[in-house]
């Protein structure tokens, strides 16, 4: 999905007509959002099949609230059974907290922009030299959403596995 966004971004840059440029920029933002969303949704589906069907706008909250209880339950069980120590539990808890909160923050921002691109055509793009912006968001920054989602998912998966969860 990210490569589609990149192609659209290249096309957007090459459009001389501002209306056409606007359309390509919107589509590129949209694809960049979906790339990050799909990466996150795949991970959530691995953890719990019903999480795969969470509506888009509910994903950040799910990341912030639903992942912690099973991980903490398992970690505390590990401490009680003398399988892991307090230090290990705190380390994994902190990794989970940082990664889920950063991913949620990014997806909230990306989803907001995706809604603007799809439902608010009156909010026009801005071209500042070669920088393409919608609201205050740079299209070039949106290009990294998928990579950011991948890196945070990698950390979250690692915590899940290290806690001994399925």
């Amino acid at each position: 999905m990210k490569i589609v966004g990149e192609k659209l971004e290249t096309w957007a840059q090459s459009q001389s007509n501002i209306h056409d440029k606007d359309l390509f920029v919107r589509s590129a933002f949209n694809r960049y959002y979906y790339a990050a969303f799909l990466i996150t949704r795949e991970m959530l589906g691995e953890f719990d099949a019903k999480w795969k069907h969470t509506p888009h706008r509910g994903i950040p909250e799910l990341l912030e609230k639903a992942l912690k209880p099973p991980v903490m339950h398992q970690l505390k069980k590990g401490v009680r059974n003398n399988i892991i120590g307090d230090g290990e539990m705190k380390r994994l808890q902190q990794n989970l907290q940082i990664a889920t909160s950063e991913l949620a923050k990014m997806l909230r921002q990306a989803y907001d922009l995706r809604i603007i691109t799809d439902y608010e055509p009156e909010t026009a793009i801005v071209v500042d030299e070669n920088v393409l912006l919608l609201m205050s968001y740079k299209l070039s920054s949106a290009r990294s959403w998928a990579d950011q989602a991948s890196k945070y998912c990698k950390i979250i998966r690692r915590v899940w596995k290290d806690a001994g969860l399925d």
């Binding site: 399988i83 921002q109 290290d162 399925d166």
Partner: protein
């Protein structure tokens, strides 16, 4: 009584509450949610003039949701500064440590404290110390403080005991040779010596039994009670059933 919604009214209300850290407010036409925009750098662990906290933002959300009967969302706006800093720190550390840093991610705990995830090709205790010290200095030069560093040493990472128990559940009864080969698929730096030591630890904790006649390891009831059971495709029970199916008896 529910107040009629209008964007100027919301802005005036927020102004009267001295919420200057909210950089923008708008109504999202698709679902009529009230959207509040706050720069990431205006969020700290405790609220103070010009700076807010997660708790205060939550209270503002609740206040507005009650006043206008609308969903309220807060968007923490991340500017490009964080990515630029990440990229800069990554290059500085790699220059100092001869390209041993595979990746570096940072997260702002508040406006001045940075937590980091650092992935290193081959992590040793000494290298970990040296990178920490150097990174701390680099941050201090940028008037930032180091919170914690989490090490993601991909090729040299080792499984935790819970992860090891879960692998044992799938494969048991299993000898050291076979277990090492299978664990090494996910954790390259695991050696049979390291694994044997960990299995001995688990045996002493009453989680694993060493079967002398067959030279294999199996889990105890206590360990089986610890590992989650389920019916999902990725659950340890299903993985075990599939592993048994593949096993040559």
């Amino acid at each position: 009584m529910q107040d009629l919604i209008n964007i100027e009214g919301i802005k005036e209300y927020l102004e009267s509450q001295k919420r200057a850290f909210i950089s923008d407010v708008r109504l999202r036409p698709s679902d009529e949610s009230i959207m509040l925009y706050v720069s990431q750098h205006r969020v700290a662990s405790k609220a103070k003039p010009g700076v807010t906290s997660a708790r205060q933002l939550n209270n503002i959300k609740k206040g507005l949701a009650g006043k206008y009967s609308r969903k309220v969302e807060v968007i923490l706006v991340q500017d490009d500064a964080q990515q630029a800093l990440e990229s800069g720190f990554y290059q500085i550390l790699n220059r100092k440590f001869n390209d041993q840093i595979v990746s570096l991610y940072i997260s702002f705990r508040d406006e001045s404290v940075v937590d980091a995830f650092i992935e290193v090709s081959i992590l040793t205790g000494q290298l970990q110390c040296e990178i920490s010290e150097h990174f701390k200095t680099v941050l201090e030069d940028a008037e930032l403080r180091l919170g914690t560093i989490q090490w993601l040493s991909s090729p040299s990472e080792l499984p935790t005991l819970p992860a090891l128990l879960r692998a044992l559940k799938t494969l048991q009864p299993v000898n050291l040779y076979r277990l090492t080969i299978i664990i090494q698929k996910s954790y390259k730096s695991v050696s049979d010596k390291w694994l044997s030591h960990k299995l001995d630890q688990l045996r002493k904790k009453g989680l694993v039994i060493w079967q002398k006649d067959s030279e294999t390891y199996v889990l105890t009831d206590k360990a089986l009670g610890y590992i989650p059971a389920g019916t999902r495709r990725t659950s340890s029970d299903i993985e075990r059933a599939l592993a048994l199916g593949r096993r040559k008896w």
